[in-house]
């Protein structure tokens, strides 16, 4: 990456300065640099470093969220440039929720921030979300992946219900890929349910990349 060309944008991402990041992104695009170059040469590598630092806890959730906010701002600002360019604005669309009966959300929020800094568009439905709301939202936004979180053993049946609902005839055609994770969930259980598993936020990104064929 050319250090001088993107320095202001890099600083904005690392300091979580949305206004500065958005302004600089527009300036770069208006100077003739294609959005795909801005993302490919600057934003994606920096987000990779940020995600890596978070997975080693060299930085923490607030910094991750701030970086994600900058990226979302930049994506929105450059949307018109992308559309005319034909370039996709995100790697894929993900519906994320903690399933019904479960109120834990910090782990889910960590996954959300990691997915966003890694280029995914995430619709976070929050906690205690029922299967029909999850599937309906996924259909409406044409999601690629449904990511489900649970931290309590009695929440596992809610995950099963969501999986089952995704497989009934009228929903199956949408081809949602389902990824699950959280305290009581193990890889063995996910394999039995025939869905994908992420042990932690970093693994969730790897799985999402694989499912959308967008891994580096």
């Amino acid at each position: 990456m050319e250090e001088t060309k993107y320095k202001t944008l890099v600083d904005a991402i690392w300091t979580g300065n949305v206004a500065s990041g958005v302004a600089e992104a527009r300036k770069l695009a208006e100077s003739g640099i294609k959005p795909e170059m801005i993302f490919g040469e600057c934003i994606e590598p920096e987000l990779g470093l940020i995600g890596d630092d978070f997975s080693k806890l060299k930085i923490f959730l607030p910094e991750l969220i701030s970086a994600a906010d900058v990226v979302k701002g930049v994506q929105e600002e450059l949307r018109s440039f992308f559309i005319s360019d034909g370039t996709k604005t995100s790697k894929g669309k993900i519906v994320l929720a903690t399933v019904s009966g479960d109120l834990h959300d910090v782990g889910k929020n960590i996954v959300k921030a990691m997915l966003e800094v890694n280029g995914f568009e995430v619709n976070d439905l929050g906690v205690d979300v029922g299967p029909s709301t999850i599937i309906q939202t996924a259909k409406e936004m044409d999601a690629d992946i449904i990511a489900l979180s649970a931290l309590m053993l009695p929440s596992l049946p809610s995950i099963k219900d969501t999986i089952e609902l995704s497989r009934i005839a009228e929903n199956k055609e949408h081809g949602f890929k389902i990824m699950i994770g959280g305290g009581p969930i193990t890889k063995d259980w996910a394999d039995k349910m025939e869905v994908f598993y992420g042990n932690d936020a970093a693994e969730a990104v790897t799985v999402a990349n694989d499912l959308t064929n967008t891994g580096s």
């Binding site: 978070f54 997975s55 806890l57 923490f60 959730l61 607030p62 969220i65 019904s100 009966g101 479960d102 109120l103 834990h104 959300d105 910090v106 782990g107 929020n109 960590i110 309590m152 053993l153 009695p154 929440s155 596992l156 049946p157 809610s158 305290g183 009581p184 969930i185 193990t186 932690d200 936020a201 970093a202």
Partner: protein, 458 residues
């Protein structure tokens, strides 16, 4: 002093406090609030030490936590408002908090008391798996493996994977049935082991207020048991949680609330984490009228509580509380290692020393294999935990630190390997409820090792 007047007061604050979006509370009140006080009070946790040796730092963490909780408050999710207390109110309420409570009944009753740093009295040994999943047919023998250990003072069971073949569902009749099944089996285990009056720590199958309230009546949780429930991370409540508090107080039960600050989450790294843990304990006492306040800080990737930086921040936080209040505090050991692994034992050794020397009143666990692998827990590691806690009362922080570091050096390299060990039915003879020779020899060996490092079990 807990009473219904305070419940009304909290509800008034929940219904009239400043209104805001939850995301704003997270970012502005919690994250920025923590950053501010960490800077203002120059909080710097020495992560090279597992057991804090700096009293001045502990006192600064206390002041930072008070300052923080005054401005941050607790978010009431149902009303979308923040419950705030002034500094004088918080200080008055903390002075009125109880400093001792009787757990259990008859010959099996034990006193839990507020402890000081390097306290010569041992903490209460709450030997349990803290809700690790278990097939229903093993629930009773696994519980007996804890209760039969004389050094275990109070206990609780695992989480029943099924009840008569049905999985529980939160908020449904299945939750109530599962809760009562747990209560029935727990009482059976207590009686069979000959300690019917031993206190029981909460109800693992009671996920919502429905289960908790249903279980807290004759035949279920007794007034001398602990009504254990968590608040929502970080510093959030809802009416369900307040329902549990209200019912417990009205029925004369013991409010045993806990808060699990996520390391690396909204509070950031070790410095913010220490302040957040301390503040959450204060909030549990002030807002939730908890008699006992507890934490089980969680690592976002290892899912344990035994990570180095987390132990350092927990130690400072609880020393801050021990030096500046008479709250009864508790910690939980969530270990990476499982039964029949030395990793579990070294983690238990290090963490028990930290918790005991830092002034905790009670220690729960150990919860092996991060508490998620079916049946991976036994009473033998709880016996070891209790032995270490009792032995630790002869140490000061400096000498305990040396032993803790030696133990930690032997388990830390194994964390990434996730040595989850064996389930109860492979670590014990299920009929006789005795550990296998392999497991017993392993524990004896690590005990001998600890003796060689300077820990006297006599």
């Amino acid at each position: 002093m807990r009473n219904t007047g305070r419940i009304l007061d909290i509800m008034e604050r929940a219904l009239t406090g400043p209104m805001m979006e939850e995301a704003t509370f997270d970012k502005v009140h919690v994250t920025e609030g923590i950053k501010r006080v960490v800077a203002d009070y120059d909080i710097k946790v020495d992560t090279g030490k597992l057991i804090n040796q700096d009293d001045d730092m502990a006192d600064r963490v206390w002041q930072a936590a008070i300052d923080f909780i005054v401005t941050c408050g607790v978010f009431s999710k149902d009303s979308g408002r923040v419950i705030l207390h002034s500094r004088p109110e918080i200080e008055t309420l903390l002075k009125a908090a109880p400093s001792e409570v009787l757990l259990g009944e008859g010959h099996d009753a034990v006193w839990e008391r507020a402890r000081k740093i390097e306290d010569p009295s041992p903490l209460v040994v709450d030997g349990c798996s803290i809700g690790t999943p278990i097939p229903e047919e093993y629930f009773v023998p696994a519980m007996i493996s804890y209760i039969q250990e004389p050094i275990v003072d109070v206990t609780c069971g695992g989480s029943l994977e099924t009840v008569q073949g049905f999985e529980s569902r939160t908020g449904s009749p299945l939750e109530i049935l599962s809760t009562w099944e747990e209560m029935d089996l727990a009482h059976l285990a207590l009686k069979r082991a000959g300690r019917p009056g031993m206190a029981y720590t909460g109800c693992m199958m009671a996920m919502s207020d429905i289960g908790q309230i249903s279980a807290a009546q004759p035949g279920g949780l007794r007034p001398t048991d602990l009504n254990t429930f968590g608040i929502i991370s970080e510093l959030k409540a809802n009416y369900e949680i307040f329902n549990k508090v209200t019912h417990t107080i009205r029925t004369g039960g013991i409010v045993d609330a806990y808060a699990n600050a996520i390391y690396g989450g909204l509070g950031g790294g070790p410095d913010g984490h220490a302040v957040l843990i301390c503040a959450e304990m204060i909030a549990l006492s002030v807002v939730f009228q908890a008699t006992c306040v507890g934490a089980s800080p969680t690592h976002p990737f290892l899912f344990c509580s035994t990570e180095r930086n987390m132990m350092a921040s927990a130690s400072v936080a609880f020393q801050a509380i021990a030096r500046n209040s008479h709250l009864m505090t508790n910690l939980s050991i969530t270990a990476v290692g499982g039964p029949v692994t030395k990793t579990l034992l070294y983690e238990t050794l290090a963490y028990s020393l930290m918790a005991s020397l830092s002034g905790n009143s009670r220690l729960l666990g150990p919860r092996p294999a991060t508490g998620v692998i079916s049946g991976h827990y036994t009473g033998l590691e709880a016996r070891f935990m209790g032995e270490v806690c009792h032995a630790s009362t002869k140490l000061n922080r400096e000498s305990a630190e040396v032993i803790a570091q030696k133990a930690f050096a032997k388990c830390e390299p194994d964390f990434e390997k996730k040595p989850y060990g064996k389930p109860f039915w492979e670590a014990y003879d299920v009929r006789t409820i005795k550990p296998t020779d392999e497991w017993q020899k392993m524990v004896d060996g690590v005990r001998d090792e600890a003796k060689g490092w300077g820990l006297s079990f006599d």
